[in-house]
């Protein structure tokens, strides 16, 4: 682990589930690391994989997408599309020899404040362990 390394994680959270789950974590005064900057989207399916790739190549140590649990999407099936896109992007990451551990999709519902805090904590810890993003400033798109 790098000394004093504080990863910067970009989080895309759907408005209906994960963002609301994050709000609940706050209302419940749960503590979790401050390494994620939350970006609110209407649905996780709005997240073009290019956003994730761009964030990563611009130096994000990790990216996280939060959506509704399968079957619970506010827009019926948006999260299934997200799941496929992330799976595809992981493939691309592998092909480019990038670290797939820096890419994560989590289902967190509006009632899962503790789960939100847990996911953020674990993901931050793990990112700390694997160290800073090596691709930073090396590749541009």
């Amino acid at each position: 682990m790098s000394e004093g390394f504080e990863p910067r994680i970009v989080g895309f959270f759907c408005k209906w589930c994960t963002y609301a789950g994050a709000d609940l974590a706050g209302t419940s005064r749960l503590q979790y690391p401050p390494n994620v900057l939350p970006i609110r989207v209407m649905c996780s399916s709005r997240v073009d994989p290019v956003f994730l790739l761009t964030a990563y190549l611009r130096g994000a140590d990790a990216v996280l997408i939060g959506g509704c649990h399968p079957g619970d999407c506010h827009y019926i099936e948006g999260n299934y599309y997200t799941r496929r896109r992330v799976a595809l992007l992981k493939n691309i990451f592998e092909t480019l020899k990038l670290d797939t551990e820096r890419l994560r999709l989590s289902w967190i519902s509006a009632s899962e404040g503790p789960r939100f805090a847990k996911v953020i904590t674990e993901y931050t810890e793990n990112t700390k362990k694997i160290g800073p993003n090596p691709a930073k400033n090396k590749i541009f798109i």
Partner: protein, 563 residues
């Protein structure tokens, strides 16, 4: 005119005020380009706070406002209204959540302050790319089309009547009432008085706000919530169709029965005196006598549950009670006849059913739990071979068998779904908007599915659904009121669109069509819900979900990554 951004940090009493060093935030934010003022307030959502904001926007001549406050879930609408009051577009407001996702989660004031600065910076950079969006209002027709005149359709049509609202009740057969009307005797034995349904049909026929179109098919339904254009055609005729406009559609197209002939397991139509529930119902409706093909009265009857359940892959839920009712009917009228009920899982789920089951046992009905059954033999000596849960084989000799076929979608369901642009469930029934959260809606605003069209249902559940859809229509489609479609919809940048039509496939709402002449996709803003899935799938970046554009989100990413 250049942007003049006002940034206001809410103390939210001690909630933010004590957790974040607001003075430091103000110091860090003030030098950012285009930021004209940065101020703090004790409680921006209060009446006093709102007036303060209105005055600030007016006096400072602000073009955009960023609020460091609570979750947008709490007060985004409050602050959008403040913007409107102050004369700026409500979409030129950005609420940055520095309470739930900052002040409340970091004990360390330093960390919380740094994060708050980062969040607010992201909000400022984002808002520079905000565009004013205009709320739209569309005229809405309050009339309703009810498709199907069975139990569900009758209930919905009658419940929907109200002055200023016309209801078109379209039924493909010649009579209203649906499948329940055929089995008066059987149902009345169950305590279900069909007279009440007949009364409702009479009420419908004499209600001037309901136009009943029997022996009629719906040919097409085109449009969106508040404005569907409907054309109908009399069954079997070319001319004489009607066309009219409605604001909402209630689909109550009913169900059908699994075809027992499609499997040899039940001996149906091969062995005489093997009946379906329907055959049995018809028999007692005609003569009220139980007769075998020989003309004699049967001595023993097997009631075989779960006809076709294996093939269908789902439980029809209501046949257990129907079969138990038949068993009771037989036992009450002909106490001498032996009755065996062969069931798998017994579906006795309502609060009265368990009692009914216990009473049935007391009457001497022999319940046998089985996991497989086969009806064989011949008339006069029908043999029922079954396997118990433990795997033991059993055999019964009876002279009559009644099999309960499962419920399946009505034959024309795929065509109706196609016409209405709503999806079907893998079972072939209509798919509800959301299994848990929107049980009578569909993916299309203004189209509701009720009763067995949506899956096997009891009478009670059917009526509940019809009433629920009525309630939805009453609260969403009010005569004389306009409707407001979603403002944050997707738009196509025609110059970028290559016409690949990927977006058409991913849109669950059918909001996108393809313009053949221009070779580009077109969004129907009245249907679009603004999820942005199309933008996530567009390979040419030609779709811009308003208020969640790539540029706006990208600004947030950049701020997140700022050193």
């Amino acid at each position: 005119m250049s942007d003049k951004i006002g940034v206001y940090v809410c103390e939210c009493g001690p909630n933010i005020g004590e957790a974040i060093d607001i003075d430091k935030v103000i110091e860090a934010i003030s030098p950012i380009e285009d930021v004209a003022v940065v101020r703090r307030h004790k409680l921006l959502c209060s009446g006093d706070g709102q007036n303060f904001l209105v005055d600030e926007i007016k006096n400072e001549g602000l073009t955009h406002v960023v609020l460091g406050a609570c979750s947008p879930k709490d007060h985004e609408i409050t602050f959008m209204n403040v913007a409107t009051r102050a004369g700026i577009n409500p979409y030129l407001i950005q609420v940055v959540n520095i309470r739930e996702q900052c002040a409340w989660i970091f004990k360390d004031k330093d960390i919380a302050t740094k994060k708050a600065i980062k969040y607010i910076r992201a909000g400022i950079e984002r808002i520079k790319y905000h565009k004013p969006l205009q709320k739209k209002e569309l005229d809405a027709n309050p009339d309703v089309l009810v498709l199907g005149g069975g139990l569900a359709g009758i209930e919905a049509a009658l419940a929907l009547t109200q002055t200023d609202r016309k209801v078109y009740l379209v039924e493909k057969s010649a009579d209203l009432g649906g499948s329940v009307m055929k089995f008066e005797k059987l149902l009345s034995h169950q305590g279900f008085n069909l007279g009440l349904i007949k009364e409702k049909v009479d009420k419908i026929n004499s209600n001037e706000n309901i136009e009943v179109l029997t022996s009629t098919n719906v040919e097409s339904v085109i449009g969106f919530f508040g404005n569907f254009e409907v054309t109908t055609k009399p069954a079997g005729e070319e001319a004489g169709g009607k066309s009219f406009i409605v604001g909402a559609v209630v689909v109550a197209s009913g169900y059908n029965w699994f075809d027992l002939e499609s499997t040899p397991r039940y001996g149906y139509k091969k062995i005489e005196d093997v009946f379906t529930i329907n055959d049995f119902g018809r028999m007692i409706e005609e003569s009220e006598k139980l007769k075998l093909s020989t003309g004699k009265e049967p001595k023993s009857i097997a009631l075989v549950h779960c006809g076709g359940r294996k093939e269908l892959g789902y439980c029809s839920r209501v046949c257990c009670m129907q079969m138990m009712n038949i068993g009771n009917y037989i036992k009450d009228k002909y106490p001498g006849i032996e009755v065996h009920e062969l069931h798998s899982d017994l579906c006795v789920s309502s609060k009265n059913d368990q009692k009914y089951y216990e009473k049935s046992k007391e009457k001497g009905i022999n319940f046998i739990r089985m996991k497989g059954v086969e009806v064989g033999g011949k008339a006069g000596a029908i043999s029922i071979e079954y396997t118990t849960l433990a795997g033991d084989k059993g055999k019964l000799a009876v002279d009559m068998a009644v099999v309960a076929p499962g419920m399946i979608p009505e034959a024309g369901t795929p065509q109706v779904a196609d016409m209405l642009n709503v999806p079907l469930h893998p079972t072939g029934f209509f798919k509800e908007g959301h299994e848990k959260l929107n049980p009578v809606g569909t993916t299309m605003d203004g189209i509701y599915v009720v009763g067995c069209a949506q899956g096997p249902k009891s009478f009670m559940e059917t009526l509940i659904q019809a009433q629920a859809a009525t309630g939805k229509i009453f609260s969403h489609l009010i005569p004389g009121k306009k409707i407001e479609p979603e403002v944050k919809v997707s738009e196509i940048i025609e110059a970028f669109c290559t016409g690949c039509q990927t977006c058409l496939d991913v849109c669950f709402y059918g909001a996108i069509t393809y313009d053949e002449d221009k070779g580009v996709s077109v969004v129907n803003e009245a249907i679009c819900r603004g999820c942005g899935n199309c933008a996530g799938s567009c390979p040419s970046d030609a779709i811009r979900p308003k208020h969640f554009t790539t540029t706006q989100l990208y600004q947030e990413v950049v701020e997140a990554l700022r050193e």
